[in-house]
């Protein structure tokens, strides 16, 4: 079981991703934007961060830059990007240990990519699973 921080401003995408990840008995923490994710990261650690790129308050790229520089964390990150400039994003993010997963995506493939990443990071799968719907205050 791994602790996964899921950062996504689209409620539908957040819900379906959480549903699929929960099948693999991971603990999911949901954040509606990058600013809420920062608040979570300041108080706890995660085995993996899955984040969208385009979000209000703080976008995914800015979150990763803060994570690696100011926060000094090397937590693996997967960015979900539907932008046309994915190559440019990958060029900057991959040296920081970030994988880019393009949108639209298949949930099963995303889960497989997440499991592979967790495996590379040496995370253990444990039982039972819970989904923590700790949604931050989006408007705040």
């Amino acid at each position: 079981m791994a602790n996964i921080l899921l950062v996504e401003d689209d409620v539908h995408m957040l819900r379906v991703t959480s549903m699929w990840l929960a099948r693999n008995d991971h603990e999911i923490v949901e954040a509606r934007n990058g600013a809420v994710a920062q608040e979570f990261l300041l108080t706890r650690t995660f085995d993996l961060i899955v984040s969208d790129v385009n979000m209000p308050k703080l976008d995914g790229i800015s979150l990763v830059r803060w994570l690696r520089s100011e926060h000094g964390s090397q937590t693996p990150v997967i960015l979900l990007s539907s932008r046309s400039d994915q190559l440019l994003i990958a060029k900057e993010m991959e040296p920081l240990g970030v994988n880019i997963h393009p949108k639209p995506f298949s949930p099963s493939r995303l889960v497989a990519d997440i499991e592979r990443r967790l495996g590379e990071a040496g995370a253990a799968i444990c039982h039972p699973s819970t989904i923590s719907h700790e949604k931050g205050d989006v408007a705040g």
Binding site: D9, D10, M13, S82, P104
Partner: protein, 624 residues
């Protein structure tokens, strides 16, 4: 040469003849002198006592101090030598070969040394009785001896030397002349060619100075001549350039002050004319403004002396980079970016080499800031648009796969999946429609079909179109119009989109039991100086946080409140509405606070002049 040779020959012949004549005269004089000298000696010896051989010897010795003699002796009457310069022959009979008893002198033939000799023989008579005239009297005088001497000719020797010297001098002169001729021959040939070239060209000499060079000639004169020609050519070219520059300067100066100067200075792009690699011969007003430098007083200046601003420095660097090693400019183009992204400029260097003149170019500086910004905005719009289209597609695909996987068999989950798919499909559809609507607004300008617009009628139609939705949501919708409202100049269809978008938003974001108000009034417009119509759409809905007041007008942006997410919207409605309002010369303002409803006010100028000014929109509907 032949003339000189004849002259030299004549000189030599004359010299030789003169030497010969001189020799003969000197020979005669020398003989007479020698005879006189011997006579004096004889007379002197006659003063001694007869038989005083010592005195005789002394006399001979004194004579030899002053005269060159080959032989000098005194013999007695018997022919016995009693005194001589050669002591070995004293007391001996004189050599019969040398003995003579005749008074006089003879010129002996020259020996191998070519020295003339004169033999003089005189009697020595000791007088018993001295006579007045001193001539020996053979009858009365006493003992007699004979003085014989062979005297050498100093003059002959000198003549011989002079002859030899003359010959040597002549030979030396000939040799010197020959050597001088050899040395000067090369120069004479060069001078001959130079004079031929100069004379043959006459008045056309300045047309082709280069042909006067002595090609293939060696020697200092030819080398220096060629250098002189090169120097003159260079000076000529410099003078031509200076003349051309002076003429050009006069033309440019004249053009600055004339109509051409006004035209050139009116061109918004910078224009520079660079000469002599680094000299700024001309620049228009736009160029000096872009370079951030004052116009030189005489209109020209060196690029190295002018103090450029940041952009100017980059432009000058680009000009210098286009200068090749051979001193000629090459074509070059580059974009110069001002610091902080405040401007972008395309700099083009166009070589202007004519008639072997190099180091000249024309430089154009075009401000492409707006185009660069538009291109960047277009790139950002495409990226954003891609994201907006892919988001609902992602949801549709994810939920479709969730359903088809069969993994989730909870009925509620299945029902939610279908609902999301339906919603996102509609969202995608509306998004595409809004994008198509915006695409009708031409990039960079909005084309309005201006005519009289009955605004009350337009508002009434918009309200009526949404009456059903309002009733469904149980939202009270009211409209209030003044009794008299002047006709508005504008595009009715575009204005209808504005009203529909504002009314639609008001209804969407107002919960059941709320109300929407539409009003209209005329008031003076401070900006245009004329009157303007204000259309107000006010609701009692969820309101908009102040931090979002400007963002909601940007493409694909909506309010950040969480509740907004639950309401379907593309984020393009307010963008379109504002672009249309601005196209009419007006604008849209919002007054709202979260949870306290929202009021949108559309400002529309009424005068035809303002409407015409609004036909050309500075803000891009799609990319700005």
């Amino acid at each position: 040469m032949s003339l000189v040779g004849i002259l030299l020959f004549g000189l030599g012949a004359a010299s030789y003849r003169g030497a010969v004549d001189t020799r003969e005269r000197f020979a005669v004089r020398t003989r007479l002198e020698n005879e006189g000298a011997i006579e004096l000696l004889a007379a002197s010896l006659a003063q001694t006592q007869p038989g005083d051989t010592v005195a005789l010897q002394r006399g001979l010795r004194d004579f030899m101090r002053w005269h060159r003699c080959e032989a000098l002796r005194v013999t007695d009457s018997r022919g016995i030598v009693v005194a001589s310069m050669n002591l070995d022959e004293v007391g001996r009979p004189v050599n019969p070969q040398d003995a003579t008893r005749e008074r006089g002198s003879i010129m002996l033939p020259p020996e191998k040394s070519n020295t003339d000799r004169q033999q003089v023989t005189l009697p020595i008579v000791w007088r018993k009785h001295p006579s007045d005239h001193g001539v020996p009297n053979l009858e009365e005088d006493g003992e007699r001896a004979w003085l014989q001497g062979v005297m050498l000719s100093h003059v002959d020797t000198s003549l011989a030397n002079a002859r030899t010297g003359t010959a040597i001098v002549i030979l030396a002169v000939v040799l010197l002349f020959y050597l001088l001729h050899r040395a000067m021959r090369r120069h004479f040939r060069s001078m001959s060619r130079i004079s031929e070239g100069l004379l043959s060209r006459g008045d056309q000499i300045e047309q082709d100075l280069h042909s006067l060079r002595l090609e293939g000639e060696k020697g200092a004169l030819a080398t220096q001549w060629n250098r002189l020609i090169d120097l003159v050519e260079g000076l000529s070219a410099t003078a031509q350039r200076a003349t051309a520059s002076a003429e050009l300067k006069a033309v440019l100066e004249k053009s600055r002050k004339g109509a051409l100067g006004e035209v050139i200075n009116a061109v918004p792009d910078g224009l520079l004319y660079v000469v002599e690699k680094t000299r700024l011969a001309f620049g228009n007003t736009a160029a000096y403004r872009l370079l951030e430098v004052d116009v030189p007083e005489d209109g020209t200046a060196s690029l190295d002396d002018l103090g450029f601003g940041a952009v100017g420095t980059l432009v000058v660097e680009h000009i210098r980079a286009a200068l090749g090693a051979d001193g000629a400019f090459v074509s070059a183009s580059a974009v110069v970016e001002a610091e902080g992204g405040s401007g972008s400029y395309r700099v083009r260097v166009l070589p202007f080499n004519t008639r072997r003149k190099t180091g000249e170019c024309v430089v154009t500086i075009a401000d492409i800031s707006q185009q660069v910004r538009a291109d960047k905005a277009a790139e950002e719009f495409i990226a954003q648009l891609t994201h907006e289209l892919r988001t609902p597609l992602t949801n549709i695909r994810a939920y479709t796969e969730t359903l088809s996987s069969g993994v989730f068999d909870d009925p509620k989950v299945i029902s939610d999946c279908y609902n999301v798919i339906t919603k996102e499909t509609r969202r995608l559809s509306r998004l595409i429609e809004d994008i198509l609507s915006m695409s009708q607004l031409e990039v960079g300008s909005i084309q309005l079909h201006v005519d009289d617009v009955d605004l009350p009628s337009l508002l009434g139609d918009a309200v009526q179109d949404l009456r059903g939705l309002a009733d469904e949501k149980q939202v009270d919708m009211q409209i209030s119009l003044p009794s008299k409202l002047p006709k508005l100049q504008g595009d009715r269809d575009k204005l209808a989109v504005v009203m529909n978008n504002l009314l639609g938003n008001a209804l969407k974001y107002t919960p059941s039991g709320g109300s929407v108000y539409v009003g209209c009034q005329v008031q003076p417009a401070s900006a245009t100086g004329g009157d303007e119509i204000l259309v107000t759409v006010k609701d009692t809905g969820m309101g908009i946080d102040a931090s979002d007041h400007s963002r909601i007008f940007e493409k694909f942006q909506r309010g950040s409140a969480e509740a907004v997410e639950e309401i379907v919207g593309t984020g393009l409605g307010l963008t379109t509405a504002r672009e249309i309002a601005r196209g009419h010369g007006g604008d849209i303002e919002v007054m709202s606070a979260e949870g306290e409803g929202a009021t949108f006010i559309v400002h529309l100028p009424m005068s035809p002049q303002d409407a015409a000014r609004g036909r050309s929109l500075q803000h891009s509907a799609l990319v700005g």
